[in-house]
Symmetry: C3
Subunit: 340 residues, 3 copies
């Protein structure tokens, strides 16, 4: 995709200073931008980059006055950061819009249907009795088992695996390699020390506006549903076990694991590499620090915890501070003992 | 699949109270069941759900006497929980049995053969010189390299990747996205600070009745085999490094990592997010608590450890209790010093 | 592949003692080797295995004198370990060389080209405007989006997913299930507690001689590039967030996670299950112990840290030693208080 500086200025309701016919092919940071790139200057801390930029054009504020000659065309707008963000979104939409139609071979089972304006990449697989909405994009090598439902405007990226009976809402994104709906880790110990499979016949429900990161795994429920409520964002390599329920607008960072039947509230923030045991619940707006191990229910909204096992965030910081002085403390204690 | 209440009662050797011709399409929890669903009531703690259930039928004990009118048909059996479990297993078998034959296109190399009654999904890949048993199911987009052996009744789910020379036993399950047999992380440091690949020419052996979770990775041995012995169950996102050997009937929970050449005994239980260093061994029936870091060989059977680094479970609990009082302890120590 | 003992001796410039016509089909450890296998004896600690080996031939040192009869042919060379390593490398090259040509169906988009002597496995997908070098191997079900560049001699294993605009150098290996270039975890919190996507329009750059382990995920930059510099080796299930930069010849072990915009130096060693927060930097030759949580910039080259949060490695060891005596310390402190 290629636009002129003038076309972009028009889109942003901005004014061009310099060559309006110059061609823009990409968006870049002002300090890294080369020929054909458009950058922006919002925070004047970075003003010195402007005078040395390789960018073809730079978005600046309407009232900005350069102190030196600028080697790029300027596009003057009300709010450079917002304008640039808007371009990023437009760019992403434009790239996504390029994907439409069906690349062959692609597999679709019996009694499955899919709404208008969809994309199905080569080697994508949709099982039997699936129902997919409009503007859905199923990238190459993605897999949807039988009886899967997917809402409008949802994108399943390359090689994501959606087991049978999964229900996915509107405006969701499932990234490459994520596995949704695999049978949970349920094994009944037998008297002889061996294990027997406990059938896992439930499913996974992802509500609207949910994002699932690359290579994340979400197990189906034993019975009923493992649920991720609307607007929740889950990072890469996260593990969500069977029968877990995650509230609305919660954020879970990479490599965190949540054990079976635990309930996470709304508007929670779970940092990376956290482990949460099974069969507990976290109140709304709970914040869990990185690498914490959560072993008990959190009942009070807005609690902040840290540590393995996790407890009050501030108290944990105090304890860690003393931990680092432990050899000195022990020495002092021994000196006292000798004195007495 | 659809059955009548009467057909299910017959299968379970139970007696119907109510409409034996009503149709059952799914199994559900008594508190979540809707029309067309079959639930069960075993623990009388949940009896109140029975009187408000939306289920079409509920399995109850032979001698159960309702205290109120029940809106569902009843199926009376000796042991409701066992009967329901049996139905879950039958359901799962029936669903699995639907997958048979070959969906095109599917790739199979030269000199490879596969037993009767198998399923090969579309876009599945089987390399050259592979030997697969009867009733094997290779789901869409699964990959088996060259010289792979797979026993009877084993299922490889969508997009699992089995590198060349892997040997998989009977009745195994490899879930979506798991990678079995990738070359281990072996790099020889050179004098100039760079690294050189150490060729990894061994393989992975999974014995009978082994389950491998979604997106788990098991590296092949440098020479010889990385081995998972029979009946062992491995959860999602677990890392097993080269030349590791895991005993029989051991359970390893999600996001645990085991470093190279370590041996895990039989009947062990390794919780989630555990890290185990290389070149050590864990005795039979060792239990390792969640998020532990195991840095030393455990020689005594039945040992329970916890912590990072891990040591005796109970002592670790005691230490953690004092850890949380450290600021107070330091204060007391300082007060003592002033007194003397 | 099958060679005679004599052919192998010739390749290694060695001398045969025993049957030079015997057939060799595989390489094995001396204690595990069976008929048709070639083993080696370098460290004389393992000499006793020689007299009981099932190997068809064993590589030994020129001047080695057996103390008992040996059941295998001997190949005498200058340095048995080096000779065996060379065979391993030759074996791996030979196996890799078998993969060439295109297995159908394989997808390649418009304006994409690929150098001579390449392999494209069945169900592999290469998008539009891609440029791939010579001797490239794209295994079955691997995915390359649009505008991807790949250098010479690089191998993308089965089911790896390379998002659009990724740049990969020469002699790289990306293992099965790895996801390179997925959009980073960028969500702007809104006033109402919901999150809005921040478009991620940058890419990932892997320089020459980089290895990426199975199911590892590397996010693209928001703008600009997430970069892994030359010679760096990354293990399985590692998470690299957006805008991270990793130096040259650094090693990162399994299940480690690096948060956004952090810079890792050259020649660093990061052990397994480490977490590193965002927006910090680690000096060259930093070593981070397993399961550590790194929360602060490390400025001094050669620093060794450990713990969560991580600090000086030796001091951490001392603190842990006292931690394990905490209940005893508390008891002593209480006794002192009573005395006074």
């Amino acid at each position: 995709m290629e636009f002129t500086v003038g076309q972009i200025a028009q889109l942003l309701d901005g004014q061009v200073e310099g060559d309006a016919t110059a061609k823009i092919r990409e968006l870049a940071k002002i300090e890294e931008a080369g020929s054909g790139a458009l950058a922006f200057l919002s925070n004047l801390k970075y003003e010195h980059f402007l005078y040395a930029t390789g960018a073809t054009a730079v978005i600046v504020a309407k009232n900005f006055t350069p102190k030196q000659p600028v080697p790029a065309a300027l596009i003057r707008v009300e709010d450079p950061y917002s304008s640039f963000s808007r371009l990023l979104e437009e760019y992403q939409k434009a790239v996504a819009a390029l994907k439409t139609g069906v690349e062959q071979p692609a597999f679709i089972g019996n009694n499955s249907n899919i709404g208008e304006n969809h994309y199905r990449g080569a080697f994508s697989y949709i099982g039997h009795n699936c129902k997919l909405g409009a503007n859905v994009k199923i990238y190459p090598q993605a897999y949807l088992g039988d009886n899967v439902q997917v809402g409008d405007n949802t994108t399943i990226f390359a090689g994501a695996k959606i087991y049978s009976n999964t229900v996915i809402g509107n405006n969701c994104t499932v990234h490459a390699g994520a596995v949704i709906g695999s049978p949970g880790f349920g094994f009944a110990p037998q008297k002889d020390g061996t294990y027997r499979d406990i059938p896992q016949t439930g499913n996974v429900v992802l509500e609207d506006n949910v994002n699932i990161g690359a290579n994340t795994t979400i197990d189906c429920a034993t019975l009923g549903s493992t649920i991720v409520h609307e607007g929740t964002k889950i990072d890469n390599l996260v593990q969500i076990a069977h029968n877990v329920e995650i509230g609305k607008h919660t954020v879970i960072a990479s490599q965190t694991g949540i054990s079976g039947s635990t309930k996470i509230g709304n508007y929670c923030t779970i940092a990376g590499q956290v482990g949460i045991v099974g069969h507990i619940s976290l109140a709304d707006k709970t914040t869990v620090g990185a690498q914490s191990g959560v072993s008990k229910t959190i009942s009070e909204s807005g609690t902040i915890i840290q540590g393995s096992p996790a407890f009050d965030y501030k108290q944990n910081l105090r304890c860690i501070a003393v931990f680092r002085r432990l050899p000195e403390l022990e020495k002092q204690l021994n000196e006292l003992k000798e004195k007495i």
